[in-house]
Amino acid sequence: MRLLRDIAYVRSGDKGDTVTIGVIARTPGDYQSIVESIDEQAVRDLFGDWVKGRVDIYRMDNIDAVVVVLNQGLGGGATRTLRLDQTGKSLGNAILRLPVRIAV
């Protein structure tokens, strides 16, 4: 089974109590698989109770990337969270654990 780690680059960060994760296809041919592999349920199942609010997913067809937004996902924001990773820098890597669904 392939994982997103095999086909994607990521970068994540924070805005207030929100974690944002950019997922970029390594090759244009991988983009559709990334789109198929990331949906709200998969993201919720992955992060569990670390995400209290909405999960928003946006496509960027022009650069073969998907933006995932975890609202109320940082434990209260960078200054308030009890996590060591106060700005969510490491959470992009977590999404690389999602299995690749085959694009149809």
Partner: protein, 465 residues
């Protein structure tokens, strides 16, 4: 009637060269010095502020009225100002923090000490609305929390320590029009540090210029504002990035037709290619079709990236819409304390030792009567960074850490965590080891909200050496 305007425009630059000199308070100075020496820049733009920073600086200002600007501004400007003046590059920064007036006065004195006569230092005020909050509420501005929807601003009013509006490039444009060599702003948006000089050079205005052009400046500002983050820093392809310890900060060649080249100095470390640019395009944004900035709304979903040479990426087809009618206001308020502790455990059975220590800490907290509204335990090397997203650990680790963090109402309660952790020196499992005990830290939480644009105006003053 067309002739004079054509003549006038032909005297203007067709390309503006901007460098990014700082991505955050604490960033490296040497890449900025290199840019000034070799970059042939019109402008070097520097961001120093984050959400937390304004509250820290506001606290300094309350203690000492002539402080509250970014302290690093002085050593940074000591190195950069002589270079900037001799190369004809203008410096634009938000290092004024909570006290742009004091920061600008300090930089004017510094310029004098450095023998840089004739230096014009601009200060920009107007973002600090700490003294106006009650007036806003009385005038019917609801100050609803944008993230939680909470409307009860009154509940935190007494604990507010900072309130700053993310302002647009209006003040920067005026400062440049008045021939400032250095611009010291407060909480102007990071993005406006780049939009301002572009609009100034091309004579653009928010009302009359095509919104796509201003959105292009916003887009490019977003790409470069975190400095090395678009030249190989923070990269997923970290292993491929050469000599990151001497990375080159980005250069923008922004053209009048609202296209731009992102590049860096030859011979510096790092890389500029479509992926390093993409990595930062997706960074810390919500809807990429609606990137809301005080100068306009950029749409990142139409642009095209093209590799046009080594470490050269062209960005074209950028666009967007006119600026929003509201501005973002970030209010910082005191919100209790965090107590934190770290303990480490060796092989064999490191994870079992850490789990036993967690249980023991829990018992200590009970005995000591810890009153906390949240307690978090993490196992370093197992699940500290990814939490619920980390799978069950398989195998035998060489070592494991236990981290505990609690949120409390008072410093005294938070300090119980430090004491409980030190009790484990002897109550803990064999092999328990520590770093330095951690002191409790105060929490300044953030209440993001909106204010009508017409309530906010900027004030520009020039201090001359």
């Amino acid at each position: 009637m067309g002739m004079p305007r054509v003549l006038q425009e032909s005297q203007m630059k067709s390309v503006v060269r901007l460098g990014s000199g700082s991505g955050f308070w604490g960033d490296a100075l040497d890449p900025a010095e290199e840019l000034l020496r070799e970059g042939n820049l019109d402008y070097l733009c520097m961001d120093y502020l984050a959400e937390l920073t304004m509250a820290l600086l506001q606290r300094q200002r309350l203690k000492t009225p002539d402080e509250g600007y970014v302290p690093d501004l002085v050593p940074q400007m000591t190195a950069l100002l002589p270079l900037a003046r001799s190369h004809g590059t203008r410096l634009i920064c938000n290092g004024g923090g909570a006290n742009p007036r004091a920061g600008a006065a300090r930089i004017r004195d510094l310029a004098r000490e450095l023998g840089l006569g004739g230096t014009r230092v601009a200060l920009i005020e107007g973002d600090d609305v700490l003294d106006r909050l009650d007036r806003f509420v009385a005038d019917g501005v609801p100050l609803v929390n944008l993230e939680t929807g909470d409307r009860d601003f009154a509940a935190i009013r007494k604990r507010v320590v900072a309130a700053n509006v993310y302002t647009d490039s209006t003040g920067i444009i005026e400062a440049l029009r008045r021939d400032a060599h250095v611009v010291i702003a407060g909480r102007v948006s990071d993005n406006a540090l780049y939009v301002g000089p572009v609009m100034h050079e091309f004579g653009w205005t928010h009302d009359r210029t095509d919104p796509d052009s201003i959105a292009a400046a916003i887009t490019v500002g977003h790409i470069v504002e975190c400095a090395a983050a678009c030249t190989g820093g923070m990269s997923s392809r970290f292993a491929e990035m050469p000599h990151m310890g001497r990375v080159g900060f980005p250069i923008v060649e922004f053209e009048r037709d609202a296209t731009a080249i992102i590049t860096k100095l030859r011979g510096t470390g790092g890389r500029v290619d479509p992926f390093t640019v993409k990595e930062h395009l997706v960074y810390e944004i919500h809807d990429p079709a609606n990137y809301l900035m005080p100068d306009g709304v950029a749409d990142f979903t139409r642009l095209r990236l093209e590799e046009v040479g080594p470490d050269r990426v062209r960005v074209n087809r950028m666009g967007g819409r006119r600026r929003p009618e509201t501005l973002k206001l970030v209010i910082g308020y005191q919100d209790g304390w965090i107590g934190e502790g770290l303990l480490f455990f060796p092989w064999p059975d490191a994870l079992a030792r850490a789990r036993k220590a967690k249980e023991t800490l829990g018992e200590r907290f009970q005995r000591m009567g810890l009153r906390a509204d949240a307690i978090q335990f993490d196992f370093l090397g197992v699940n500290m960074l990814h939490g619920p997203a980390a799978p069950e650990y398989v195998g035998e680790p060489n070592e494991v850490g236990l981290r505990v963090a609690v949120h409390t109402a008072s410093r005294e309660e938070a300090d119980k965590v430090r004491r409980a952790c030190s009790h484990l020196w002897i109550m803990g499992p064999g092999g328990t080891s520590f770093g330095t005990p951690m002191k409790p830290r105060p929490v300044v939480a953030v209440w993001p909200t909106l204010v009508p644009r017409e309530l906010i105006s900027q004030n520009v003053e020039i201090l001359e050496v």
